[in-house]
Amino acid sequence: MELLSGADMIARFLQDEGVERIYGYPGGAALHIYDALFRQDKVKHILVRHEQAATHAADGYARASGKPGTVLVTSGPGATNAVTGIATAYMDSIPMVVLCGQVASHLIGEDAFQETDIVGVTRPIVKHSFAIKHPSEIPEVLKKAYYLAATGRPGPVVVDIPKDMTAPTERYEYVYPKKVKIRSYNPVTRGHSGQIKKAVDMMLKARRPVFYTGGGIVTSGASENLTALVKRLGFPITTTLMGIGSYPQTDAQSLGWLGMHGSYESNMAMHHADLIIAIGARFDDRVTNNTSKFCPTAKIVHVDIDPSSISKTVRADVPIVGPADSVINEMISLLQGREMANAEALPEWWTTIDGWRAEREGKLYEPSQPGERLKPQEVIEAVYHITRGEAFVTTDVGQHQMFAAQYYKFDKPNRWITSGGLGTMGFGFPAAMGIKQNFPDDTVVCFTGEGSFQMMMQELSTCKQFGTGVKIINLNNGTLGMVRQWQDLNYKSRHAHSYVESLPDFQKLIEAYGFTALKVEHHDELDAALERTFADNDELVFLDIDVDPREHVYPMQVPLGAMRDMLLSKTERT
């Protein structure tokens, strides 16, 4: 029997759970835990410069690896700083465990120094939370936290740990719990066979089917099975922003992604479909536009692990609660030896879709000419080419995020890392940092803008400390581009506070941290700057690119319209 203090139990548990890296920032209430981490060397701690970055870095790692990220912060401001990152993970169903120091039990409720009711503060943005009541329960509670975070529909779990629970003087028996059971929590392991059969029958009878798949495919590791299913049927497929990479985007059956700034052909195909097979997607408002005009002729099959996602905004005709991977598998086996009922319909449907594709071919944006300022879109395309489409790509939020999603093509899941649900500016850089530290051999690119980057740029210091070689591509248009776009469209171009005055000299700023920064002012300088940026995979390089501030993201769905109602450029609409 082994006797350990609460703090040592935490360090030991993290080792036994196989956690390699945690992201955090010390403070009074977490000091016993930090001391325990200091006295071991299996679990590496990355000291960030702001707790929000700790959550984004752990989140980036989780999205890239599929495993839960781990964060350690102190009580009060340490914990509240982490809130935005917890909410970001919650909205995108990312597995994460956040260990928060708390003031000692006898002080709770007395407005003690650095006390916050963090369980209360985070209640609406966590999958679950725990408060440790006795040191001896630490191993089991931590196991439950990891189990909840990673299974079913994943999400962040907060564990609040009062300082006296980790006191070095109090020791209790430690056993690593290999398994835990939570009587009220039994995530489904397979879908209802009758419903799946019904769905397959509908697929075979469909004339204008389309797959609509989301982040659930990435989360459940169902990409391979999904690809097999889509190939087997020959149907078109569109993904959500979160589902990018769940099906190879360079494949002919991929229509790209859908919704607010999705591709023309995706939104048109959805609107005209007679069957939508939604898997691991949640019909959110950035996808559906006006739900009362949503896809008027379509029957809807909806597969999701979370029953509350089904029929939340759009009613499903065939709801299937289950993990994407196993449901798709069952669909594939049910399809064996069966044929489409209307064999002639699918080629006709493809002819229609190819017509939509042709309409927009070569009209997506107007490239810059030699000597001119670059267009943000062409920068993304150039980065796509130089990285051969194989980089991990993180983004911040705004126009650059949409352009990155539109012009970088992903053929693999877990490579496109973006804050889709919450839309958190400041996410991209720390997320890239978290990925690079865990996947040092890969190229990690962060597309950002001068607005977003300034929200989390203190992490340059962390990258310096840990030698983290991410590539930061700053699409600098000197304005909060997406805000400005909405102001152009809805507020007669009154640019209320969307102009970022007094930008720093990014080159000097980056150089102050000892990194390389390059400036690109016009078209002709891009290729050489990109060559230099990607020359050494281990080097952090910041590429500051002046891009055209007048550029808008198109297509853009018309507010309150149907899927097909889109602005296609500043002068064209459907």
Partner: protein, 163 residues
């Protein structure tokens, strides 16, 4: 439509706040709320009455089921059920109205549980409609204070809400 949802909840600190928080967070409505321990000390039973169309009620039950602290729940209004609420009312009982109060209490099969020269405290149980009717009948005489427990309920027959 009004629904009565009964929930078996882990008897853990913070569990109640998760349920209540869910309602405000998702813009659902709570009309009454009643919570107490059960015969199993690890479980509380919470009964909530809420308004909503089928779509809203479906979302409420799905989201409640998602809470880790919710062990089991039933929408009692889906089947035959018994619904009870207890109310304590202080009414003015002076002069001629003193008899009037007593008569009304008898009609409603309520009980007077405390007496002063000027006030009767009445205890009444029944469904929410009966309690509303009593309040209405007493209003002209003069209600001084009302305490209601909120609805508690149980399904009729052999159907059981347990682990």
């Amino acid at each position: 439509m009004r629904h009565i949802i009964s929930i078996l909840l882990e008897n853990e600190p913070g569990a109640l706040s998760r349920v209540v928080g869910l309602f405000s967070q998702r813009n659902f409505n709570i009309e009454t709320l009643n919570v107490a321990p059960t015969e199993d000390p690890s479980l509380s039973r919470l009964t909530v009455t809420t308004e909503g169309d089928d779509r809203v009620i479906e979302q409420i039950t799905k989201h409640l089921n998602k809470l880790i602290d919710v062990v089991k729940l039933v929408d009692l209004t889906e089947g035959h059920h018994i619904e009870r609420e207890l109310m304590l009312v202080k009414v003015k009982a002076l002069g001629a109205s003193r008899d009037e109060v007593k008569r009304t209490v008898d009609i409603f099969r309520a009980q007077i549980v405390d007496v002063t020269p000027s006030v009767y405290t009445v205890q009444i149980t029944g469904d929410a409609g009966k309690l509303d009717a009593f309040v209405q009948a007493m209003a002209p005489i003069g209600i001084l204070e009302v305490g209601r427990t909120g609805v508690s309920g149980i399904s009729r027959g052999d159907k059981i809400l347990s682990l």
